[in-house]
Symmetry: C2
Subunit: 152 residues, 2 copies
């Protein structure tokens, strides 16, 4: 069997997740793409930055907005290796991101298809298109390996 | 009638909200207190910073964590002039803040007593104590005046 090749932005997000693991952070990575160009990439860094908000999605949204010099990312797509949490899903809505692609679901911490299901709330101010599952196996394996090694 | 005086941290949060209005930002302010000392204060700055995540709560949480050199704010209290949105409520949970005091409710954007009611979700990883309403009139008036002036 030949697996369908992952889209380039998800490969880059997974590379970011690997970089997080090497730095001792929970391995989650994200990139933002505009018009086919990657304009920002980041990984989870709450420990290194002493910042509980420093999830990959938050850092990449802030970097993309800074790069564009604007508060909103209307024409941009976010690629991330794990289902966003409520904080990050809220930031995605504030940023007006057009599309969100995430790899693995997160039944414990996710807020897209789990928990608060933020984009389904009537009060949600912006609904991105959401595509899940591309790169799920790779992302889930990386997270599993990381937490397995930590438990030893 | 004599109004009960507002606690000092809420007065400071309202001063921050006034500073936001003067800077042309939606007037929301926040402070973080630890052991009776204010360790960080911030106001809403998404426009100035070109950062859709730059809500008062996010900035004050990041500033407090940086000041303490740690990722979690277990012994800290957040005072904020408006009910936190999903992004900020999520950050409050990640930061493990002990108590949250907010002034005005936000039926459209709030996620504590409205919308996703994030702290009531079974998957919410941390429940702060929440106290609402102190300074509600002052905060609501400030927001009303700001949006009324903008509509002209």
């Amino acid at each position: 069997m030949t697996r369908w090749p992952l889209p380039e932005p998800m490969k880059l997000a997974l590379e970011q997740a690997h970089a997080a693991a090497r730095a001792g952070e929970v391995p989650i990575g994200a990139v933002i793409v505009k018009g086919g160009q990657v304009i920002a990439a980041a990984h989870n860094r709450p420990r290194a930055l002493h910042d509980p908000t420093a999830h990959a999605e938050m850092l990449v949204i802030r970097a993309a907005a800074a790069a564009l010099g604007q508060e909103r990312l209307d024409d941009c797509d976010l690629w991330v290796t794990l289902e966003p949490c409520p904080m990050c899903a809220g930031a995605i809505a504030h940023a007006r991101l057009a599309r969100v692609y995430y790899a693995a679901p997160d039944p414990k911490g996710g807020a897209v298809e789990h928990g608060a299901r933020l984009f389904e709330q009537p009060t949600c101010l912006h609904l991105p298109e959401v595509y899940a599952g591309l790169g799920e196996a790779e992302s889930a394996e990386l997270l599993r390996d990381f937490f397995r090694a930590r438990r030893r």
